[in-house]
């Protein structure tokens, strides 16, 4: 651990390569600890917010829960029928329980990547440890909520997610804030280990505020025959959000898929990308992004596929829709083939709602605003993401609420 601290110290002033540079000293670290309680006894104003990011306080249809408010773990448990199959705890507890935690700590995300990773090392505020045990199929999603209740707070979580060989698991993570919170900084380090033959579907839903800054740092290691699906949904305004998660398809026949739905509202600045590095024989990657920019929002939609094995293949698809003249979408798809035989492709399309589409739907009897709403909803059609059906329904509902609100 010592070496990591030193590295972090050296990187503490290092700006990130992308996104606006933040003055970290402007945020407070001073917050009262929350007492450990039951999820059912959390205040209503908190559980109501968490519902908006897919976290069910009644735990209905969930296999287990991790709930963190500010810097405190307030609840964590695996439901009875999944005990001995899946583990949910804070990463702090995991360090106490397992002597091998160092093997999973700062392994797929570099501690000195930038000042935010450094901050997460120097001022670490827990985060979750979720693990599916070998061969276990966790039939319901596990949920994790990272909540901020105090204005202008800095929260730095570090999560570790392990899908042991031949396990199957779905995780829904919701990150959100109390309605009274207007500003703050959330740094989230997430390291994923999807082992031989395992399947992990990870869905992250963000719900911030117009003056809030967010810097997730994510890495995933995918081994032989394993599949990692990462879904990201951000539909509410945020001051600045910058992330560029990366999946290393190291194993033979490993698979990574990134789906993201971004809705830029008000003055949001979203710089969101997905990277897939194809290292194993037969490795496959897919990146699908849908971005809608309204009001004065700016969206940078990035994607990078790197083919390092001659038998590897990946595709990147990014579509952007502008709903206002003062918004901006910049799609930046990149392909790097390092060996002959790596098959990489991309398609990107950015534009306004096409007039001919509106007129076509009007000729089917829809009013102009109904036509626009149909087109926007269709644009955010999550059925192309190939999600588990229950999850698809939940995300579809969120998207529908957003489109109804804005149109």
């Amino acid at each position: 651990m010592q070496g990591k601290k030193e590295k972090a110290l050296k990187a503490r002033e290092k700006p990130a390569t992308l996104g606006p540079d933040l003055d970290i000293s402007g945020f407070t670290r001073d917050v009262k600890p929350w007492r450990y309680s039951s999820i059912h006894s959390l205040p209503m104003d908190i559980t109501k917010q968490s519902l908006n990011v897919g976290i069910r306080p009644d735990e209905k249809g969930r296999a287990g829960t991790y709930f963190q408010i500010d810097h405190s773990t307030v609840f964590r448990a695996t439901r009875k029928m999944f005990e001995g199959k899946a583990e949910v705890m804070s990463t702090e507890e995991a360090f106490e329980k397992y002597d091998w935690m160092d093997d999973y700590w700062w392994k797929v995300v570099a501690v000195d990547a930038d000042k935010y990773t450094a901050l997460a090392e120097m001022e670490w505020d827990k985060g979750y440890f979720i693990r599916a045990l070998e061969g276990q199929k966790i039939t319901l999603p596990l949920q994790a909520c990272l909540f901020i209740s105090k204005d202008n707070l800095n929260q730095n979580v570090h999560n570790v997610i392990i899908a042991e060989p031949n396990s199957e698991m779905q995780i829904i993570t919701g990150c959100t804030i109390h309605p009274n919170v207007t500003r703050g900084l959330h740094v989230g380090i997430s390291e994923f280990f999807v082992k031989e033959g395992a399947t992990l579907t990870f869905t992250m839903i963000h719900n911030w505020a117009q003056n809030f800054d967010v810097r997730p740092r994510t890495g995933a290691l995918i081994e032989d025959g394993a599949t990692f699906a990462n879904n990201y949904v951000c539909l509410k305004p945020v001051k600045s959000l910058q992330m560029y998660p990366v999946a290393y398809c190291k194993g033979t026949n490993s698979r990574a898929r990134f789906n993201s739905i971004l809705y830029g509202a008000e003055n949001s600045y979203l710089d969101v990308g997905s990277k897939v590095v194809l290292q194993g024989a037969g490795s496959r990657g897919e990146v699908i992004a849908r971005a809608i920019a309204s009001d004065n929002s700016k969206i940078y939609a990035r994607g990078l596929l790197i083919g390092e094995h001659e038998d590897s293949k990946a595709h990147l698809e990014c579509r952007g829709l502008l709903l206002s003249d003062s918004s901006l979408i910049h799609a930046i798809p990149e392909l790097i083939a390092k060996v002959e035989g790596a098959e990489l492709s991309h398609e990107a399309a950015v534009g306004k709602i096409a007039e001919d589409q509106i007129q076509y739907l009007m000729a089917r009897g829809f009013s102009e605003s109904e036509a626009e709403s149909l087109i926007v909803r269709g644009f955010m059609d999550v059925s192309i993401f190939d999600l588990p059906s229950q999850l698809q329904e939940e995300i579809k509902k969120m998207v529908d609420i957003t489109t109804v609100r804005v149109l």
């Binding site: 579509r319 076509y360 739907l361 009007m362 000729a363 089917r364 909803r377």
Partner: protein, 247 residues
């Protein structure tokens, strides 16, 4: 359509067009490529790119010249487009069912069968990756679901294979029974299956001639549109003479 002149991007596309389709009649609109047939249809519907310079459009006694597209559709105008745009995420079935509100699920299945569509086709994104023939059938299907008083069909036969041409032709003919329609066609294949009353020939944005559809069509098939151009010239000479006489 009364003395209708239309511009698209400041270019005159239709010139003093008079065309009337009485209740219960089906007319055919013929004309060479680029003569303004599709623009005429878009004008009937009220597409924003078609700027009406003069004249009026009437439907059922109502002046619809400046009405939004969807209100014209609500009055009972239906359209099957020639080249509809693909719309991602909007399902064909959603549009079809929007016309069938209050009717049971069996209705859309029956309609889909009428144009030889498997039912799962309704779950596809509108026109996305449809073949030429599928586009035509999807357009006709939407019109069948809408049940408009007046149906405008733009080239319903182009790109359709022989077997489906018969299916579509019969579906259109059954549907138009007792309704009014305007069928735009290039080669007239569809007219082997659909009974029509009057044909109009549009050349260079002007109606060159109107007459009994069988007669007009057989002339065009024999002599091509040159015959109509000649006609148009004679018509113009006549009009000039008439003006001079009046003076």
């Amino acid at each position: 359509m009364e003395d209708l002149s239309v511009e698209i991007s400041c270019k005159r596309i239709l010139n003093h067009v008079d065309l009337a389709v009485p209740n219960g009649e089906v007319h055919v609109l013929l004309g060479p490529n680029g003569s303004g047939k599709t623009s005429l249809i878009q004008t009937i519907l009220g597409f924003s790119n078609c700027k009406v310079i003069s004249g009026k459009i009437w439907f059922d006694g109502v002046d619809i010249t400046n009405m939004p597209i969807n209100e014209r559709v609500k009055l009972g105008i239906g359209i099957a487009f020639q080249n509809p745009p693909a719309i991602r995420g909007v399902k064909l079935g959603h549009v079809v069912r929007s016309f069938l509100e209050g009717k049971d699920r069996a209705t859309d299945i029956r309609l889909a069968r009428a144009v030889n569509f498997p039912i799962k086709f309704l779950d596809r994104d509108l026109n996305l990756g449809f073949s030429g023939g599928e586009i035509k059938r999807s357009e006709i299907l939407q019109v069948l679901a809408q049940r408009p008083k007046f149906a405008v069909l733009d080239e319903p036969d182009s790109g359709v294979d022989v077997e489906n041409l018969e299916v579509i032709g019969k579906a259109i003919n059954n549907f138009l029974e007792g309704r009014s329609g305007l069928i735009v066609t290039h080669l007239g294949h569809i007219l082997n299956y659909v009974k029509t009353d009057v044909a109009h020939v549009l050349i260079g944005g002007t109606i060159a001639c109107s007459g009994k559809s069988t007669k007009v069509l057989s002339q065009i098939l024999k002599e091509g549109y040159k015959w109509c151009e000649r006609c148009l010239k004679e018509k113009r000479v006549e009009e000039c003479k008439e003006k001079k006489r009046k003076r």
